[in-house]
Each structure stands twice: as structure tokens, then as C-alpha cells.
């Protein structure tokens, strides 16, 4: 896509020919190919759902964009303001760390809770990283946790004591404390009961309508049908198919089941 067409479509994230190969030096120098040239884009206010069988590269793609995995080659362009994009792959670690806090929200399936840190503390610090002052971050953290129905008695306990579903909500609350420019979701509602799942999905939908670009992995087709504006099916680390939810899901029933 040319620079001009990126602007026309209000693209926030543009992934170009992304490869991620792991060289496992401790296991006979084996090479594992997780991504083999993925190209895609996500616009502001668009929710793109990644689909595909397990091992297709969905999580690897999200981690490579966030740079928890360091891409082998290719580029990940993120919009900074109306005319400038920055390639996340080429940033230094310190530059990326700055950008992560302010522009990108990443919510994974599991909360890797830092030991002895409370949910409130985790969410509040996410707010501080986004540039809020302490008091604003406190208010926003309370709002964010309330919105996801996390019982107030759990706000100041150690997050490692929480159940899987509670941890996921803390994770979501931290990732969405203020609308990031780009939100990466890796099965964020997989451990939630129906009522909590409902409010989480509603929150994700609201953020999308507020202009957040969302790239998500959901294992349930119902969530995709409801939230996605476009579906991209990955296979063997490549984009296999992309289209509207209706078309893709019909197509996918055969692949995913």
C-alpha cells in the first residue's frame, strides 16, 4: 500500500511482509517458522479478527507487533499522527518501551501478574504509563474496574490470588484504561462467565466505535461475528483469506472445526 492510500483509509497499523522465525540453539539449532510474510492493515475504528487453527500464527503475530517477539524481517508501521508512521521493528528498545505505554494496549489471555501487586495498582499504573497524573489515573482505574464488574473487595488484594476470569478482567481494565490507538487482544474473554463476557465484549465494541483500531484473536465465533468488521484467516504463518465476517465465517466453519 502506498503512503497515500494508507492515509485515505485512515490506517493505524500496517504490517508488511512480516516474518518471525525462531532459532532454537539449545535444541539442535532447529528453526521454527511462526510467521512467513504476513501483510495486513487495521484502520481506526476497525475491528479485525484473526482466525485460524492453533499454531497458525495468531498469537505470534500479536506478539511480533507488540515486539514481545522480535520480528525476523518485515515492518510494522504504527500511525503516530495524521501524516507520520513509525516502524516498530526498527525502534530501539527504549523507544519502543515509551511507545508501548502510550499508544498500544496489549491484553493477553493470561495475566502475568507481578507478585504481590493489587489489581487497582496494576490498572492505575497502566494509566500513569499512558501519561495520566496520579489522581486522574486513580479515578480512571476505579472506573475501569467497575466497568468490568470486578468486585471492589478484590481491588487491593494480591492479583495472583484472583481467579482466571478475574485476572482477565484486570488485564482488560489495564489495557483499556484510556482508549489506546491500537488495541491488541489475545483471547481476552476466554475465561469469563457469560455475564462478564457480555460486559467485556460491550467494552471492546465501544472502544472500536470510539476510533480505536483493534486486532484480536477470539476462539469463539460468536464474539467474532458480533464485533469484527473484517476477518483475516491465518494458515502456516500466512494470510490465507480475508473478508467480511459473513463470508469469512461461512468459509471458516470448515477450517476451524
Amino acid at each position: 500500500m502506498t503512503q497515500q492510500s494508507i492515509e485515505q483509509h485512515n490506517v493505524v497499523l500496517e504490517v508488511r511482509d512480516l516474518y518471525k522465525h525462531f532459532y532454537l540453539h539449545t535444541i539442535d539449532s532447529r528453526c521454527v517458522e511462526a510467521l512467513n510474510g504476513v501483510s495486513l492493515s487495521v484502520a481506526a475504528g476497525e475491528h479485525v479478527a484473526l482466525a485460524g487453527t492453533s499454531g497458525a500464527g495468531k498469537s505470534s503475530l500479536l506478539k511480533s507487533i507488540y515486539r514481545t517477539y522480535k520480528p525476523t524481517s518485515g515492518s510494522v508501521l504504527l500511525k503516530l499522527d495524521t501524516t507520520t508512521f513509525v516502524d516498530l521493528v526498527s525502534l530501539t528498545d527504549a523507544e519502543l518501551a515509551t511507545l508501548r505505554g502510550t499508544k498500544i494496549g496489549y491484553v493477553s489471555q493470561f495475566l502475568r501478574a507481578q507478585p504481590r501487586r493489587s489489581p487497582f495498582d496494576i490498572v492505575m499504573h497502566a494509566g500513569i504509563q499512558r501519561g495520566m497524573d496520579r489522581q486522574t489515573a486513580k479515578d480512571a482505574a476505579a472506573h475501569s474496574l467497575q466497568r468490568l464488574n470486578l468486585d471492589e473487595v478484590l481491588w487491593d488484594v494480591s492479583a495472583s490470588m484472583l481467579s482466571g476470569g478475574e485476572k482477565q478482567r484486570v488485564n482488560l481494565a489495564a489495557g483499556t484504561i484510556s482508549p489506546p490507538q491500537l488495541l491488541l487482544l489475545d483471547e481476552p474473554v476466554s475465561a469469563l462467565d457469560p455475564a462478564n463476557r457480555e460486559s467485556a465484549l460491550e467494552l471492546i465494541g465501544t472502544l472500536t466505535s470510539q476510533g480505536v483500531a483493534v486486532l484480536a484473536v477470539f476462539h469463539d465465533i460468536e464474539a467474532m461475528r458480533r464485533l469484527a468488521s473484517r476477518i483475516i484467516v491465518l494458515r502456516n504463518g500466512r494470510v490465507d483469506y480475508q473478508g467480511s465476517p459473513e463470508d469469512a465465517l461461512t468459509n471458516l466453519e470448515g477450517v476451524a472445526r
Binding site: H25, T68, V86, D93, T98, P115
Partner: protein, 284 residues
């Protein structure tokens, strides 16, 4: 034009090297991770650290990981001035118009740096504290070095610091040697932050403490890093410490930096064979 600007460095280490003994002509090429040794086979010199470079900004903690003998503490000691470096430079910039190349300073100036710019928290509290002196007296020493003269003001500040690091105030006038390991470490932390130095170096700050005590000390360190916006270097062989305190890391092996990475990336996607070995050993 730079599109993304990371906060500016406060501490900058460039090509730092420390050799014990005399190097032979090819001593550098013949040591390091490729050679699998730090020892110059001709002269017996030890290349404890070579070509080590990194930057740390205010409010940022950089981890230094590696197994024993990889050169982590040597780097720390060269920055702190406990050892003289063989090569390279260490610069600090704690105010906008300041830039100090610390190896060019006089001994007196280096000592002054340790009073109000760079503090060190050692693994062994006996290195950072006078064991026969009271907790209050230990904290008073950096304060008096910084020019505090009023007895009650010094005592007031000392008790403030001890409460911050959760040392019971009724122990303030007891000699540190009568304290438990965890409490000694808390006194060391109180002493380190006495003059609010912008840079603090932590050398295995929780190694050797019981798990429950270590946890409390770690929480305290994390709180201090956030509260004071310190530029911190954390040396540890314990990945849980590194993961909890730092955002970026360097990995050292045979005196060289073999990888630098974001901490989450190092843990999930280590690149260098040595880092892979280290991470898989820690996570197994």
C-alpha cells in the same frame, strides 16, 4: 527527525572494560563467549568485562543478567568507583546542563558523587553499612557528608527514611550487626536513598534472603523506583527479580554483552544461544 523519543539518559556507559592482570597482544580476541573463557591463556589475565555499553534514563530500571563470573558485578563496581576501569567511559547527566565523565574526576569528586548522585545497594549489607554503628548512625553518615549539621534534623530525616523502608523506629539506636538479614538490607536501602540520588545501582539486592523476606525487600525497591523516579541498574541472576523491576535488560557472558532486549522479549524470545540456555534453565 526522530519520530519517537525515549527519555534522555542519566547514566551512560560506553565500551567499559576491566582487565585483571596484563593482557597479551591478542588477549581480547582470545577471550569472550566465542572463546568460552575470560582468561587470557598467554598471560593468565582475566578479562572481567569488555566493551560493555548501555544507557539508563530517569524512571527506568535496566537489568544486567548472567551467571556468576559473567562480569555483572564488575560493571557495577566500575560505575560505583569501587574498582578502576581499564577502558571506556561512564557519563552521568543528572541536570540539563551537567555532563560528567566520571573517570576524569578526582578521587575527592568521585567520593562526592557517591554522596548525592550514585548510590549502591550491595548484596552483602556489610559492604554498604558499618556493622558496629547504629542504624541511625549509618544513615547519618551520607547526610553529614552532604552537609547536614543539625543533630535533630539528621535524626528526623533518619527516622523518616527508616519508616519509609519499614524498619521499626525503636531499633534506630541499635547496632546494625544485631539486625536480621532482611532488616539490614532495609537499612542499606534507607542509607542509599538518604540524599535522594538520581542513580541507584542494585547488586543482587535480595540474593541470600529468605523468600518471604526477599519479597518484602523487592516490593520496597519497586516502590522506591516509582516514587523517586530513579535511574536504576539491577544486577541479578534471578529472572523473577529482573522481571519485576526492569523494562530492559542486557545479558552478559564471559565479560561481554551478548544480548540486549526488552525484558518481556528476553524472557519469551531470547536470541543468543547463551540467553536461550539461561532463560530455559530459569523457566523450566
Amino acid at each position: 527527525m526522530k519520530l519517537v523519543t525515549a527519555p534522555e539518559w542519566v547514566l551512560k556507559v560506553e565500551n567499559l572494560g576491566k582487565v585483571f592482570g596484563n593482557l597479551s597482544k591478542h588477549g581480547i580476541e582470545n577471550t569472550g563467549p566465542e572463546a568460552g573463557t575470560s582468561k587470557d591463556s598467554v598471560t593468565g589475565a582475566i578479562v572481567a568485562a569488555w566493551d560493555v555499553s548501555f544507557e539508563v534514563a530517569a524512571g527506568e530500571a535496566l537489568g544486567v543478567v548472567g551467571e556468576s563470573g559473567s562480569g555483572k558485578s564488575t560493571v557495577m563496581r566500575c560505575i560505583a568507583g569501587d574498582q578502576a576501569a581499564t577502558a571506556g567511559s561512564v557519563k552521568i547527566r543528572t541536570a540539563p546542563d551537567e555532563q560528567l565523565d566520571i573517570f576524569n574526576l578526582s578521587a575527592a569528586e568521585r567520593r562526592q558523587l557517591r554522596v548525592n548522585k550514585i548510590a549502591v545497594v550491595y548484596q552483602d549489607p556489610a559492604e554498604g553499612l558499618e556493622m558496629n554503628v547504629t542504624a541511625g548512625g549509618n544513615i547519618a553518615s551520607p547526610l553529614t557528608a552532604a552537609g547536614w549539621r543539625n543533630f535533630s534534623a539528621i535524626r528526623g530525616r533518619a527516622s523518616e527514611l527508616l519508616s519509609r523502608t519499614e524498619v521499626p523506629l525503636n531499633r534506630m539506636d541499635d547496632a546494625v550487626k544485631s539486625f536480621s538479614g532482611g532488616m539490614r538490607q532495609r537499612v542499606q536501602l534507607a542509607k542509599a536513598i538518604a540524599n535522594r540520588p538520581p542513580i541507584v545501582l542494585f547488586d543482587e539486592p535480595t540474593t541470600g534472603l529468605d523468600a518471604s523476606v526477599a519479597a518484602g525487600v523487592l516490593d520496597l525497591i519497586r516502590g522506591l523506583l516509582e516514587e523517586y523516579g530513579l535511574a536504576a541498574v539491577v544486577v541479578s541472576h534471578d529472572f523473577s527479580v529482573i522481571e519485576m523491576l526492569t523494562t530492559r535488560c542486557i545479558v552478559m557472558n564471559h565479560g561481554r554483552v551478548v544480548e540486549s532486549a526488552l525484558t518481556d522479549q528476553l524472557l519469551e524470545d531470547p536470541h543468543h544461544p547463551y540467553s536461550q540456555k539461561l532463560v530455559s534453565a530459569a523457566r523450566a
